[in-house]
Symmetry: C2
Subunit: 624 residues, 2 copies
């Protein structure tokens, strides 16, 4: 029997299949235990990542999902000879509870005060001096350092991937075809980008390394940006599995050679990028000149790679910028990238207008029964009418009523949820265009809202507007700005547990660092050219969810005797549903923001709309 | 000739005396150089602190001031065989430039991008392997660790105080008389306080130490709080120079025995505090049982003391709470301390009413020429009418017009500044009462304000009100709240460089940690019972300064399905000058806050006022 849990996530709600699958899970865990015995290990830690530490991974790397049956995006499984447990965060408690039932794997609810950390649990479960195995390609150097500290007196042992031997019918490692991002879209050549990075390194590493150095890069989005190429090795992320070295040795790209057609090869060659096969990387770095200083970010380099480059006699310098110098350079968009973002926002808004009109027509006219899944497909369909559309930037969230209270909900084709003319519908979806990436959330008021629902909607909007209006001096970090969005929600005794803002890639990952707008400290300051989401929310568990999300561009606002100040410009061009606004709760300044935002939306979109669409949009964007 | 710079700070404006004094400074620096030669050192670092790392020090410890002639509160002097330089921050650039002129000591402007750090400067000045001396009692363990890293390959050498031999007529180390804080004022016995601290240690140190431990405490305010005693060894801080040990060995206080009268001795004895002479401390800690775990905060323990306790074979555990467990326990005020704060705020407000009336009468009636110094004395005089007043909590700031733009300005008796009926007068002053400490800033509009001045005043007020109105979930840090106060000021392209809020001691230091409200990250969360200042500002260099400061109490606001939320209550009861408010710039919610604050001020103060004072206050607190 060959049931892939990955391809059949919904089966597990059927009791009989449940029973069969739970047997399969137990068998898989026992296979890992046999590996432990062979290797004289007492435990093994299985993370959700791949050697490149991105947010999404190819099926080949879904070992944790195959092993446990839990298909949420974030979790770590730990298997000992007698026990097994899975750690995940509050987004996934309900789902993990269902999916782990009967599997013999205990659920560990992260951030719950009574939940032990992985190290605490292992120390209480195993004898002193026991060995805990990990695949050293799947843990960053930083994570390993932290585990070594917290696991003592237990010992960490570094192994090769055990799933190569225990996972029968493991999906193959697939390579996609690469494409070139032309200069008219990227705005900067590889040479110019490398210069930015090496200049920044010179400054930040304080010249404590010699002129001869090599920078080792494992993050596929940084590599795609540097080389001005894209691929589709990874779902929702237009990337190629790759490594890159740059510095005194020149620029070396390690990627599947089958991915590269003639045009891409020519592009790389003309940018002085020497191409190697992906698998040659490990050999190549072992043979680097020992006198050459090695530089990498400990956040994003695997322990395996760190070990291969950190040879005795050679100097290793840690890139002190959180996430690394390339990620920071990539986060500051150039003028051409910004122009691309504006274009992508316009194209995306046209699809949203069609989507919203479709929603209204079918909800009111009873032409067609609307389900979450149908709507999720519909927005993709409208987007695909643009020739420059190249796919969704993440799995779309179309969440009706109480489903909206789950921030990472995905519509379920097998359990269709019918949309009615009441409560809220939360739609969070984004797309890649060749020249930019979008990410927008709108919450539609479908009818019969309570006073509390209207107040909540207005407070979320107020928070979103407050952050949009922020002015702040050079050097301000996202952690300082966060409460502008959260404050109005706190003021009614509510809160949301996720971040307020993440960076957005330029036809790259929709979640991009190193800047963020969160409660938690992050030392990265906002710089003109950085793009961020702005997405406050309220989730009333079991009832409804509200989130309103725009994309902002950080810009220079003014310079005077006090110094330089920055501000945000809203890039998103999609109307905000006014139905649920309780306007007495907004200040004059907030109302002015909303009206002027809507004026801009109408001005930018109307030339591309039919007259009936224009009429519809005029109503949606009229002043309040 | 025996000129003490400490006693004659104003002399230095007279050119002849300048010349003489600059000769004296050069001679002093040369004396330190002779010490360097004797000790085979190439440099010496002289900080502003004493072995207890408080904000104020006794004259005995003003070595940096004696050596350099610069009498600002914060600076570090570094002397090499050929050079000398002084590092200070932007508050003191003007003052330091004047005071260092002709001294041969260069001014190093901190946070100026072109200014080297002390370590960078020393590395560029000295040969490799040179030795840099420091007095190991005056640097915390943490500072020494950081210097050792940044100075390499230079070597740090630990010396005894060189000023013992080079400072002729050094002021004696003075001890004051101690007094007891009765339980009706402290609210908690030493035993209860020690229990809080040892419980918190048990949790935070994760039981990684044995039951046998000793905690070493160097911070005089923490010791005064733990022992429920006060003194006056240090200006403006009601403290005794002291060390304390607690834990398995019992509680040992090291303090000048002459400070303790019979009553204090009895109080300490009945609280099971064993008293030793201050100077016996160093001996005592060297002879601690090696099996006993030592715990201390690396932030506040001197390198000298750390070395004495960190013997081979014994375990040292670093207190992980920033500033230490005692400071955190002390920061959370109990109900009786809070009641004391309320009483202190009321008494202080009565003095401010008299002060403000005096200001108005004399400004309008021309009875008396008003100077900054006269007003500084006047507020102290009105305060001293309260029997419970026990001194100013810091050097009063009475700053007219352009002087207000210097955040740490002190009125200068020798250069009297006459107050006129125009621009702003900024008054920032606080007092100690037996049951609490105050700190308030009011900016008075004296006449002829420009549109910009009124807008600036209103924006500062708006920031102050925004922070006062904050609601926030449990776990929120001051760094998250900071922009509530700063945001309105940023919105007009202005800013202030200092923190928004500091903790306030209970008849202890007016600046107290570990919580703060600043742009900079500080991991300490606000907890109900914490007291903080709220003091946004605008400084227009050479023109005027505006600052409005109230004291807030953090309180539990509500608890619901989202968790626990906190809020602030304003403790200060002093009217805010309405003259400069441009009310169209305030929201309805902000105006409501102001009116209801003023109603409360009138309600609380009026029973203690004469009918003419009541009439005056009614006008000052009337609705707008």
């Amino acid at each position: 029997m060959n049931i892939s849990l990955t391809s059949l996530p919904n089966f597990i709600y059927l009791p009989l299949v449940d029973f069969i699958i739970m047997g399969i899970i137990k068998e898989r865990v026992n296979k890992l235990r046999s590996f432990l015995l062979e290797e004289k290990l007492e435990a093994f830690i299985v993370p959700s990542t791949d050697p490149h530490f991105g947010e999404y991974v190819q099926d080949y790397y879904k070992c944790r999902e195959w092993l446990s049956g839990f298909d949420g995006s974030a979790a770590t499984v730990v298997v000992t000879l007698n026990d097994a447990a899975l750690w995940t965060d509050s987004r996934y408690f309900v789902q993990a509870e269902t999916q782990l039932e009967g599997s013999g794997i205990s659920l560990m609810k992260m951030k719950n005060p009574s939940t032990p950390s992985i190290s605490e649990w292992l120390k209480s479960t195993l004898k002193e001096n026991s060995s805990v195995g990990i695949d050293s390609l799947l843990f960053s150097k930083k994570q390993v350092d932290s585990y070594e500290l917290s696991l003592a007196p237990l010992k960490l042992r570094f192994c090769k991937d055990p799933f190569k031997q225990i996972w029968n019918n493991r999906p193959p490692f697939l390579y996609s075809e690469a494409r070139v991002v032309p200069l008219e879209i990227s705005g900067d050549s590889t040479e110019a980008k490398l210069k930015k990075c090496s200049d920044a390194l010179g400054l930040n590493l304080n010249n404590s390394y010699s002129k001869e150095y090599v920078y080792i890069l494992s993050t596929c989005d940084d590599i795609a940006w540097l080389c001005n190429i894209r691929g589709s090795d990874i779902p929702f992320n237009p990337l190629l599995y790759s490594y890159l070295l740059f510095g005194s040795v020149g620029t070396h790209l390690f990627v599947s050679l089958e991915s590269l057609n003639k045009g891409v090869k020519k592009h790389l060659e003309s940018n002085n990028i020497i191409v190697h096969s992906y698998n040659d990387f490990y050999n190549f770095i072992q043979n680097l000149d020992p006198g050459m200083v090695r530089i990498a970010s400990l956040d994003t380099i695997s322990f395996e790679v760190f070990n291969l480059i950190n040879r005795s006699g050679s100097i290793f310098v840690s890139d002190a910028i959180p996430g690394g110098v390339v990620a920071l350079a990539k986060a500051v968009k150039n003028d051409i990238e910004i122009a691309g973002f504006r274009r992508a926002m316009l194209e995306d808004a046209l699809a949203w207008v069609k989507f919203w009109m479709f929603l209204e027509e079918n909800l009111n006219g009873n032409n067609q029964e609307l389900t979450e899944s149908l709507l999720a497909n519909k927005i993709a369909e409208f987007r695909s009418q643009c020739a420059d559309y190249c796919g969704e930037s993440f799995s779309p969230i179309v969440a009706y009523e109480k489903n909206g209270a789950m921030p990472h909900y995905s519509p379920d084709v097998k359990n269709p949820v019918v949309i009615k003319r009441e409560s809220f519908l939360l739609v969070d979806t984004g797309a890649h265009y060749y020249y930019g990436t979008t990410d927008t959330t709108r919450t539609f008021a479908l009818g019969n809202l309570s006073v509390e629902q209207k107040r909540d909607y207005t407070m979320v909007l107020k928070g979103m507007i407050n952050l949009s209006l922020a002015k702040f001096p050079k050097g301000t970090r996202g952690a300082s700005l966060d409460i502008l969005a959260r404050g109005p929600i706190f003021s009614i005794g509510k809160l949301y547990m996720h971040g307020t803002g993440h960076g957005v890639g330029h036809n790259l990952c929709v979640h991009e660092g190193p800047q963020s707008i969160r409660m938690e400290e992050n030392p990265i300051a906002f710089v003109p050219g950085m793009v961020t989401s702005n997405e406050p929310a309220i989730y009333e568990s079991g009832k409804y969810g509200i989130r309103i999300e725009n994309i902002l561009l950080c810009k220079r606002w003014k310079e005077n005797s006090f110094g330089e100040f920055n501000c945000f410009e809203t890039l998103t061009l999609i109307p905000i549903d006014k139905t649920a606004i309780e306007s007495s709760l907004l200040t004059v300044g907030e109302l002015e923001w909303l009206n002027s935002y809507h004026e801009k939306v109408f001005e930018k979109l109307s030339p591309r709309l039919s007259s009936s669409e224009q009429k519809w949009l005029a109503e949606k964007t009229s002043n309040i």
